[in-house]
Symmetry: D2
Subunit: 431 residues, 4 copies
């Protein structure tokens, strides 16, 4: 069978292809001369399957899409405290109201605006890194996100650096506000290199998928940044990622995203996939016109809005039954599905509302696919309490979906592969 996903993506491209509205960025010749009709999309699942359609081999400069990734590297390299002291996480509001620096502290408002991105650039790598080492750390880091070695487009770099007056202004303000040290021009040089890295939509989809996969590149398996960093980066993308209209994006699309002035746009769906589009014509906010349209379509077609409440499934408590009879009967509670907080709460609730009546009890995880960390702690607490209530507790967990099954002080549990094992053991112990 041929997968319908490539067909879906191709059809999505077709639906926006005719839209020629918007303008390519024109502040440097390299961007102005880009072929405005290029159009591509790529999706990479959290476990590394890549789909792409359109001009997916076309390389373009990453520009502002580098910002969330470099922010991630800074958080990973310097820790949250040091980075938050230098760059805040507040939306900067619509253009009509734009302020770059927080009154009082002089911090850039967030790492998705240029001032914050330049500051984040200087926070990647160790504290004593030279500007060159810092830029090198960033290129390596972004390459790890993409799963292949990325390179700088020198033509773009040279063009941008000669007219980078606004970024030079920001870097000097950062220096005046004591947010960055050293010579401001060096920060601009490094930042401009970072923005000139060449990528394709496939690279971007892979980078976004690395965020969606808790910071681990789903193809190379390389751990690029730790999970708490990913949570922070996705949060900031959700509130500050699109140049303008953070609220409009959040309500209509609801996917943490970031756009670049060369026409790229990425979105990261936690636990599911990374998506990237490429189309150089930009709207008045500087976001790719057809890219924004594609994401709106994906949200609506694929139900990927963060605030989409999933439909309730059947109870995680599949049922109870007695194995055997009389005093030695084993009371089995069978669970099913993915168990997160709400599921575990349901288990606890049922154990309280309808107390187990046999001395020997078993919780069967045979039909359980995953147990979240919080749910794991809650289930083990239930085991501990059942022990304290005088029960002998078994956990039927053939696939070991509940790791490290230690119910803590006063709790006791025996993990077995099947219900038969319990009977076997009981028989053995009876003799």
């Amino acid at each position: 069978m041929r997968s319908p996903i490539p067909d879906y993506l191709a059809e999505a491209l077709l639906s926006v292809e005719a839209d020629q509205s918007g303008q390519t960025a024109d502040y440097i010749p390299e961007l102005a001369s880009a072929d405005p009709d290029r159009l591509a999309v790529a999706m990479c699942t959290h476990d590394g399957r890549l789909y792409s359609q359109g001009d997916c081999d076309q390389a373009f400069s990453i520009q502002s899409i580098s910002k969330p990734f470099v922010y991630a590297l800074a958080l990973a390299d310097r820790g949250f405290d040091e980075v938050l002291e230098k760059v805040s996480v507040e939306p900067s509001g619509d253009a009509f109201n734009e302020i770059s620096f927080e009154p009082g502290t002089g911090r850039p408002l967030n790492p998705m605006i240029n001032a914050g991105a330049i500051a984040a650039h200087t926070l990647a790598g160790p504290r004593d890194a030279t500007p060159t080492e810092r830029t090198s750390r960033i290129i390596h880091g972004l390459s790890a996100f993409a799963g292949r070695q990325l390179t700088v487009d020198n033509g773009v770099y040279e063009s941008e650096i000669t007219t980078a007056y606004r970024n030079r202004a920001l870097a000097n303000m950062l220096r005046a506000n004591e947010i960055i040290g050293g010579e401001p021009l060096e920060a601009v040089v490094g930042y401009t290199r970072q923005c000139s890295l060449l990528v394709t939509v496939e690279d971007l989809a892979m980078m976004a998928a690395t965020l969606a996969n808790r910071g681990v590149n789903p193809v190379t398996g390389a751990p690029v940044v730790p999970a708490p960093v990913v949570r922070q980066v996705l949060s900031v993308m959700a509130t500050c990622g699109m140049y303008d209209g953070a609220g409009d994006w959040m309500t209509r699309v609801g996917i943490p995203a970031k756009s670049g002035v060369a026409g790229g746009l990425i979105g990261a769906l936690p636990g599911q996939a990374g998506i990237a589009t490429f189309s150089p014509r930009l709207d008045q906010h500087g976001n790719s016109v057809r890219g924004v349209d594609l994401f709106r379509r994906f949200t609506s077609d694929m139900g990927m809005h963060l605030m989409e409440v999933p439909p309730s499934g059947p109870s995680v408590v599949r049922g109870r039954r007695l194995l055997g009879a009389g005093k030695h009967a084993i009371q089995v509670v069978s669970l099913q599905g993915s168990i997160r907080f709400a599921g575990a709460e349901r288990v606890l609730r049922e154990l309280e509302d309808e107390p187990l009546t046999q001395k020997t009890v078993a919780i069967s995880l045979v039909r359980v696919t995953t147990v979240g960390d919080v749910a794991r702690r809650m289930l083990l607490e239930a085991v501990r309490r059942l022990t304290l209530d005088g029960h002998d507790v078994y956990l039927v967990d053939p696939d070991r979906v509940l790791p490290d099954p230690d119910p803590g002080e006063d709790g006791r549990v025996t993990v077995v592969a099947s219900r038969d094992d319990i009977i076997e053991r009981l028989k053995r112990s009876a003799t």
Copy 2:
């Protein structure tokens, strides 16, 4: 077994109890004279189980926590277009930079600031409702969210209305900007009534749980607002819900939330639960000091941050096996767990990568707990393509987790309760 959840909540209260920082709101005597030491928490699961601890019977005025619910009613009553034309959804930024109205349109920036909330108030109910009918519609609507009849605290109402100069100013500006019609003072009267509704943390937890449950009150079962409205409301709460520091809240807590000046604070976890706290002392932003602390603790203890990427579970494709042998063998693909977009993609991928080789094939959903809407469409498309590839396709779905199994034009599928049914049928058709 006694559930550990009440213990957890009691312990959480204990951990913040000693903190006496902050001040009760003092602009009206009713709020200033509130007992500042009151402390309560309640949690209501998406399926209606209510846990609470502390002063959970203490009634207090709902104040700004009414805003997201009235916004929901307005969206439900008038539709998205009419409401968005009058109230935008953009964050208003930090206090140092506060602007209430969008230049150009004169719309309030979002429905969580007073200007936007007053506008949303006037949009609840039918277009031709009198002010009294409108307020009545709102009281009924909020009561439906709470699952019991709420009443106005007349003392609070009287106090607030006599000093509501700032809200009168906002209502007059809304009238000048042609966002609201009629006499502005009437809008303020109704809005002040709305804010004076008495609630307990249990009411608030139930109201939040109604949002978490796609707009259906989990106890009464009443459909209060439709699912797309909930998505919109949660999105706006996520970006604009806390008085200040939207970015700080999003990164550190990551739960759509809303606070009120009487000390209430709610959070809604899509698909999981509603949480509410009550503690009257406020920080400089007007948010409950101990309430904010409790939510930070919940996020960290319960992994409830929206951007928390869940750990990957085992593949939804549990395995393949052949039933029977030779030409008439049935090739069965067994799925498991909750299937959303990423899971369905995985199924499609495997069907493409390792094509089915038998004419008769079966997809077994026996171990599947839920199938999301997008996943359902993807699986049915797979069925259609398998049909086109020449297969006879069976769906083993004893619990009917995949509703309305119509694979569309050219697709054909037979739903059965077990693998045995297939054999049965094949035998029959062979004869």
Copy 3:
């Protein structure tokens, strides 16, 4: 001889008559329906001569031109301290950056914006005045400025009050900020009456001339407000008087001014004249298009820019001569012209640089027209010092241009009407 001034004014009107750009204010029918072609100018000298041309009998509502006069009444009635505590004097900046209230204090930024004008309205009259008494005090006060009883246009008043939502918003904000007391709507009612007063350009020119004449109506002679109040009002008009572009007005026109939305525009030339124009079509800032043009022309034709440095005249020291000869000769220093600070300094300088050599000395003011207050004190100090140096000092001041000629402790001076009087006296004393 017929004065050329009416011709000049008529010619000025002719030069702008053809300009039909701009729009009449349209927020109430009364203003929208004004004949847009009306055009008038009036000038009233500081001593009461009135010139006018065009539609000078056409009455229109005074609107914002009432603001500086009511601010003057408030300062006169309540004193500087009380008024400054409630209304600041800072420019509010261009429209793109408009803020009405000072952070921290909540004061309106200046009395020329609506918020400040409403506050000033409530500060006119005694502290315990009822709203009606207050409005009455203002109508009487503005009538005193104009030199005739002004009346409210009830049609304009009724129209404006029914749609005065923005002013109601401002009044409520003032009440919330504790800048005004009482019911905000009453302040708006009074303020709207104030703005609905009917005036002609001749009235306005007279009102401006009263400011130009130190607060005394040049025709009736009535002292309307004291001189320090006038200084304050003119300063505020200079920096905040025109709706936008205070800097543009100050550099290009350089006359303290105020415009009204009905098409009026006034300017006050300290010590010289009041000017008023009327032409209903407004530019984008809300200032009368042809009115602004006329004032630019007046500045350039009449050299009335405040920062115009007048050409130096001849020295105030006209010369020295000896009356008589030998020991009894009288040394006479003759002064001339208007003497202000710089002139008096010149006298002191010459007396120091070329010391008087005779015992008997005279300072002749025969050709002096005015002596400013500071100059008066400086000249008397010179007299005192000459006495201390051993001189017998005479002041020849037939017209008594130097009032109250007391040189203070240790000084002595004899005032005479002519040089002959000195000789006479000396002769008498010699005998």
Copy 4:
């Protein structure tokens, strides 16, 4: 006689000497280490007399006080159009609301804020000047204002340039906004040199006096900038000169002024004097604490407020008399004092109200000290109209206070030195 002015200035210094509030600027060591107790004042009259007291030989860096003078040079060198296209003239408002660049154009709001001053720096000298030539032109120009060669303090320059990050930021923003060309750093280098020029209060008083004297240095007689430039510069100083609180300064002091961070402060009184003070401790706005106090005292003691309306003098029309009798009598109108617009109007008025009755008429300017340009034109128009009315007109003007007495087409006038000359002439013509 010893002039009391030095005593007055010494006494003024004494009155503020004890005030030790405020802080010296501390952003570079050179300023932080200045002796905070230094105190000096100087006043230079419009005709070049210099008075000074206190530490008047103490040199300090001119800093922002260079701004109005360099703006003047730019206007003189490039013309109003080119300079206004690059730098606006609007107040930038209080610090709480500070915006440096005009939305839309990107122009700095005025030449008194750093952004505008850097832009003005680049506009001094010819368009094709090198940065070095430009700086040299500025040093020469400021020296011409001061009447002696000024030099750069290299210690201050070196300190400032190494930490001039904020100015580098502004220069880069100006470059990005296309307000300046070339390398932004060069503009900062030149601007920093300009600010590092060493001056004393005597230099500053002389520079201010050059403005007060229509752009001509009152001691050297050198014309530094033309009069229209002075008018523009004084207007901008009046509205934007003090770092904050333009309105407060205008109402309370009312003198066009500029302060510098090294402790200098200047004021220019059009037509009268330039004043400068020096005291390094600054208030929160960056203005010299004791300097501001001294200026408030000067305004109040010397009546120098721009909006101070001078008291009316006697009429410029001193009287009428008949010389001779009968048909051949000469009707003489005697004028007196300084005649500006209002005085000339008075003459015209009287000639209209009480028409001259003799054929031969004379206007005597014997007691007139100055005739302003507008007044001159008005008097000549009167002469022309009298001619047209059939009069033979004489002008008695022994001191030629009315230059170029050409009454234009159809007018005729005979200028004589005395009334006797008229009789003489009449006699002659009669024969």
